[in-house]
């Protein structure tokens, strides 16, 4: 039992450390143009704490725990859903480019 618990902890540690490296690698080069959407997108990703909020809401035994957990569910949902929607709105604007070239071509 004790050894099994230990190996689980080690596995989590490995996941943690490897994720650090992946996180560093993945964004090592980003143009300043994309800093804002990238920050906003990363912000939306940590909204997945919603999963944790749902789990603790399910486990809650007392009214205090349930109340706090439901508050966490609300906050996490705002973070996650709002975050992805707002990032998409920002990026939508970058997409208009090909159309633009036609426009400016016409006016010239």
């Amino acid at each position: 039992m004790a050894t099994e618990l230990m190996s689980n902890e080690i596995a989590l540690l490995a996941i943690f450390l490897l994720s650090i490296f992946v996180g560093f690698e993945v964004v090592s080069k980003v143009s300043t143009t994309l800093h804002t959407p990238l920050m906003s997108g990363a912000n939306a990703i940590h909204g997945v704490i919603l999963v944790g909020a749902i789990v603790v809401a399910d486990h809650a035994n007392t009214n205090l725990e349930l109340g706090l957990a439901l508050a966490a569910v609300i906050l996490a949902t705002i973070n996650m859903v709002g975050g992805f929607v707002v990032t998409d709105r920002m990026l939508q604007m970058f997409k208009g480019k090909p159309k633009v070239k036609k426009d400016s071509g016409d006016s010239k």
Binding site: T36, L50, V51, A53, I54, V73, I78, L91
Partner: protein
């Protein structure tokens, strides 16, 4: 649903997040990247309903669904309706609520575990509560600053450094108290002190540095999520939180570099910098203000015009008008380019977002390093609602809040036109010597009104 299946689907969601961050790093794939991230998050949320209670319907299911519905009702319209100018503070707010959620999750799990919690779990809980609370209250302060509900200047109070140091000691000590004695009172004290520390930590940061702080707090929230993932033994939360923590840290450093500042200087600069004594004497000096016609004439006879947009453009929603002006000038044979400072506006890349909205051709947006050598050959620079990013004080005045930040060298051009609402200094609150220069013309008023008048004056010429 078995633990293995749950973890496998969680792993798939984690991979979605990696692909999302990767996608967001390049303009072509950014939107798809965001979509992949959203899919990963949705899948992760749905499967937890089938797993958390051993396959049975969750306890308190209606309440949980109501809470989610409420969050959607609040979050989606806010994200849809917010103006481009207010985007930074919305991101700050979303980040803050995420940090708050992570702290609450850890607190509930801690209360439930009671005395059964292992030391490692308690340590992770304390970490989550501290960092989550700091992220929450810090983000609220950045929101208030950006929304201009409070002063955008660094707030420096007497004995500030000592108060902050004492609060930090209190936070750590109460954290130690939780770990050694357990119970809910120490945790409550710890949480309250952490909230206080978050406020004190952000207050002295100057307005121009706020984006860097948002990014840093974003990384903090990521780490909190990872720590609560440990408490809940959920791999997905560890992966997602750590990814955001790591990438957020890199991003924060990149942003600080773009502003020519060290991260340390940003966070602690405000403590060492003396309050700027820039107000007073200089204000009385004469400035040359012009009419829209003067500006139109200057522009009409120029060969090369560089437009430098700033936050004022965003506030006035003048991006479409500025494009109209640029097109008009181009049709008269004037060479037009936009000089984009990486941190113009309230967030890095803010101007690119705005001008892209107005369908400004991407090739006309020239980054700082490329445009700076061309200013001596530029006849007119039109500064639309920008101030700090063209302020020579960044080069000439050691100790001022923006000292060391690379700027657009507009002073080297033949003429400089400032479209400004008033003589009020920029966001960072520093006087701009360039306004008093002989080759500078000022056109006061709302950027959009001014531009509209200039456009009609140009047409009449």
């Amino acid at each position: 649903m078995s633990r293995n299946l749950y973890d496998l689907i969680g792993l798939a969601a984690g991979i979605c997040f990696i692909l999302a961050l990767k996608g967001l790093s390049s303009p072509k794939s950014a939107r798809r990247g965001n979509l992949i991230g959203a899919i990963g998050a949705t899948v992760a949320t749905i499967i937890v309903f089938f797993y958390a209670n051993g396959g049975k319907a969750l306890n308190h299911l209606p309440l949980i669904l109501t809470a989610i519905g409420f969050g959607v009702i609040v979050g989606v319209p806010a994200a849809r309706k917010v103006q481009m100018t207010q985007m930074p503070q919305l991101v700050a707010l979303f980040n803050g609520v995420g940090g708050g959620a992570a702290a609450l999750v850890a607190i509930v799990e801690y209360l439930k575990l009671g005395d059964g919690a292992t030391t490692a779990e308690v340590v992770a809980t304390v970490f989550t509560v501290i960092v989550g609370c700091v992220s929450f209250s810090g983000s609220v302060i950045t929101f208030l600053k950006l929304q201009e509900l409070m002063t955008t200047r660094p707030v420096i109070f007497p004995l500030g450094r000592q108060v902050i140091a004492l609060t930090l000691i209190g936070v750590l000590a109460s954290g130690g108290w939780v770990i050694t004695s357990g119970g809910s009172t120490p945790l409550l004290v710890n949480g309250l002190l952490s909230l206080l520390f978050g406020i004190l930590f952000v207050l002295p940061v100057g307005g121009a540095d706020v984006p860097i702080v948002i990014s840093l707090l974003n990384a903090f929230t990521g780490l909190t999520v990872a720590a609560s993932g440990y408490v809940l033994q959920t791999t997905l939360l560890i992966v997602a939180g750590t990814l955001v923590g790591a990438s957020g840290t890199i991003l924060t450093r990149l942003m600080a570099e773009a502003m020519g500042r060290s991260l340390f200087g940003t966070l602690f600069g405000a403590f060492t910098a003396k309050a700027q004594a820039s107000s007073g004497a200089v204000d009385t000096r004469p400035v040359k203000s012009g009419s829209p016609d003067d500006v139109a004439i200057l522009l009409n006879y120029a060969q090369r015009v560089v437009i430098v947009p700033g936050f004022g453009l965003a506030v006035a929603q003048a991006q479409h008008t500025v494009r109209e002006l640029a097109d008009l000038l181009a049709s008269k044979g004037v060479e037009v380019a936009y000089g984009i400072h990486p941190v113009a506006g309230r967030m890095p890349g803010h101007m690119n977002v705005l001008l892209a909205e107005a369908n400004v051709p991407y090739e006309q947006l020239v980054e700082m390093e490329e445009i700076n050598p061309t200013f001596p050959q530029t006849d007119v620079v039109l500064v639309v609602g920008a101030n700090d990013v063209v302020n020579p004080a960044a080069k000439t005045t050691p100790g001022c809040p923006i000292y060391g930040m690379p700027i657009l060298d507009v002073g080297q051009a033949g003429n400089v036109i400032f479209l400004k609402r008033s003589m009020r200094p920029g966001f960072a609150g520093i006087e701009n010597e360039l306004l008093y220069d002989a080759k500078t013309t000022l056109l006061f008023g709302d950027a959009k009104d001014s531009l509209t008048k200039v456009v009609s004056a140009l047409k009449a010429l």
